[in-house]
C-alpha cells in the first residue's frame, strides 16, 4: 500500500476512521478534530499535536486516535527509509512502542510530525541494520535460483496499459445503452438503482444492456487477444 506523506501543514481530511468522540473532552480538542475532518482550521500537525498533548494528560481515547492516525504515516516513513515487506510492520510496532515509552519527551509547544518522524526513521534504520547483520539467503545459490520473484514481470506495466486501451476501444464501440451499462455497472461499480437514476433507464433494461454488452465485448476482445 503506497502512502503519500506530507510533513508540512495540510488541509486535507486525515482521518477516515477515528473513534467516536468521548464526552467530557476539552472543547478545543473536539473543535480541532472536527476542523481536521472537514479540512479547515489547524493542519494535520496541529491535530496530532493536540491529540498527543491530550494523551500526555491521560486521555486514552485521544491516544487511540493518535496511534491509529500514526499507522499510515509510520508505514510511509519506514518505506521511504528503504524498509520492505513484513519488516515494515515490525518497524511500525517498534515505533509505536518507542512512542509510548518516550511520550514524555514530546514538547506540546513544538510540532508533532518531526518528533514522530525522527523516532520512525531511527527504528527503520535499526531494523535495516539488524537485517544487514543477519546472513542473507542470496549466499545460498540453490535457494536464490529457486526463489520466485513475487513482483510484476518485466513489461507488465506496458501489457496492462495495452489491455486497458483495447478495453476502452471496445467499450467506446458499443451502442449507447450498452456502453452506459458497462461504464456505470461494470467499471464504476455503481448499483442498479444509482445507474437507473443516472441514465433514466429502467433496471430491467440496464440488466439486458449489460448482458448484451458483455457478450459483445467478449466477442470483440477475444479475437484481438489471439
Amino acid at each position: 500500500m503506497a502512502v503519500a506523506i506530507s510533513l508540512g501543514p495540510r488541509t486535507g481530511s486525515p482521518f477516515g476512521r477515528g473513534a467516536p468522540l468521548a464526552g467530557g473532552r476539552p472543547a478545543g480538542l473536539e473543535r480541532n478534530r472536527v476542523e481536521a475532518r472537514t479540512g479547515s482550521g489547524m493542519g494535520r500537525d496541529g491535530e496530532l499535536a493536540a491529540l498527543m498533548a491530550a494523551a500526555q494528560r491521560g486521555d486514552a481515547s485521544a491516544y487511540r486516535d493518535l496511534l491509529k492516525a500514526c499507522l499510515p504515516l509510520v508505514t510511509g516513513i519506514a518505506r521511504a527509509q528503504g524498509v520492505r515487506g513484513e519488516a515494515v510492520d515490525d518497524v511500525v510496532q517498534d515505533t509505536l512502542m518507542t512512542l509510548h515509552a518516550a511520550r514524555a519527551s514530546y514538547d506540546p509547544a513544538r510540532p508533532f510530525l518531526p518528533w514522530l518522524s525522527a523516532i520512525t526513521r531511527r527504528r527503520a534504520i535499526d531494523r535495516l541494520r539488524r537485517a544487514g547483520r543477519r546472513p542473507q539467503e542470496v549466499h545460498d545459490p540453490l535457494a536464490f535460483e529457486a526463489e520466485v520473484d513475487p513482483g510484476p514481470a518485466p513489461g507488465a506495466g506496458l501489457e496492462s496499459q495495452e489491455r486497458g486501451a483495447a478495453l476502452a476501444r471496445a467499450v467506446a464501440a458499443l451502442p449507447d445503452g450498452q456502453r452506459q451499462a458497462v461504464e456505470h455497472l461494470g467499471l464504476r461499480e455503481l448499483s442498479l438503482e444509482e445507474t437507473a437514476a443516472l441514465t433514466g433507464r429502467s433496471k430491467g433494461a440496464l440488466k439486458v444492456n449489460l448482458h448484451r454488452a458483455l457478450k459483445a465485448l467478449r466477442a470483440s476482445l477475444v479475437p484481438e487477444k489471439d
Binding site: R57, G58, L67, D89, L96, H100, A102, S105, P108, W115
Partner: protein, 213 residues
C-alpha cells in the same frame, strides 16, 4: 497485519498513564549545571582555593578555565538537546569551539613548564591528587546526567553519551581549576586529558547502553 497493529494500539491505549512533559533541554541543562555549581560550592567550603587566584600573571590558565566552563555549559545543552527526538543532531557541534579554547589554552602552560629550565618538576603526588579529584567529581556528575538523559528518548545514544561525557569532563576540569596548586605542567595535562578521555569513553560505553531505548 492490521489486526496486529490494532491489538498493539488497544494494548498501549489500555495502559496509558498521564505523564508530565519534560522541561526544555535548556532548563534541564541548567538544572544539571546547578548541581555542578552546588558541588563547586561544597568543595570551596572544604578546600583552600589555591589555584587561579595565585597566578594572576598567567592569563592562559584563566582562558583554559573559561573554556572548560563554556564547554561544560554547551556540551550539557547539546546532550539534552540531542536526547529529544526531532531535535537536530547538529547541536553536537555546539561545544566544539569552546572545547578547542579549553584544550588550546591548556597547551601554553604545559609548553612553558617544559621549556623553562628553572621550572621545578612537580612531585608524583600532585598528578595523583588531580586524578583522584577529577575521578571523584566525574562519577556523581556522570551518574546524574545519565539519569536525567534517560528520562528523554536519545535516538543516538552514543552521541548523547559522548556529549554528556564531554560536559562532565569539562565541568570536572572547571571545578579543579580553583584548587589546582601549580600551573599546568606536561604531566598535569597528560593526567587531565587522560581522565577527560576516560570519562568520555566510559560515558559512551556505559551511558550509550543505559540510554538505548
Amino acid at each position: 497485519m492490521a489486526a496486529r497493529h490494532d491489538r498493539l494500539v488497544e494494548d498501549l491505549a489500555g495502559r496509558l498513564e498521564p505523564v508530565r512533559p519534560l522541561a526544555r533541554p535548556g532548563l534541564r541543562a541548567a538544572l544539571w549545571l546547578g548541581a555542578v555549581a552546588a558541588l563547586g560550592g561544597l568543595l570551596a567550603s572544604r578546600f583552600a582555593m589555591i589555584g587561579l587566584a595565585h597566578h594572576p600573571d598567567l592569563p592562559d590558565l584563566r582562558l583554559a578555565a573559561a573554556g572548560a566552563v563554556l564547554t561544560a555549559i554547551t556540551a550539557a545543552y547539546a546532550a539534552f538537546a540531542t536526547s529529544v527526538p526531532g531535535r537536530s543532531p547538529a547541536w553536537a557541534l555546539l561545544p566544539l569551539p569552546s572545547a578547542a579554547l579549553w584544550i588550546g589554552a591548556s597547551g601554553p602552560g604545559c609548553l612553558r613548564a617544559w621549556l623553562s629550565p628553572m621550572q621545578e618538576l612537580p612531585g608524583g603526588h600532585e598528578p595523583v591528587g588531580c586524578f583522584g579529584f577529577l575521578v571523584c567529581v566525574s562519577i556523581p556528575l556522570s551518574l546524574l546526567i545519565v539519569a536525567m538523559l534517560r528520562r528523554a528518548c536519545p535516538l543516538r545514544p552514543n552521541l548523547t553519551a559522548a556529549l554528556a561525557g564531554l560536559a562532565v569532563a569539562a565541568a570536572a576540569a572547571a571545578l579543579l581549576a580553583p584548587f589546582h596548586p601549580d600551573e599546568a605542567t606536561f604531566t598535569d595535562i597528560l593526567t587531565h586529558m587522560g581522565v577527560v578521555a576516560g570519562v568520555i569513553g566510559l560515558n559512551i560505553l556505559a551511558g550509550g547502553r543505559l540510554l538505548t531505548r
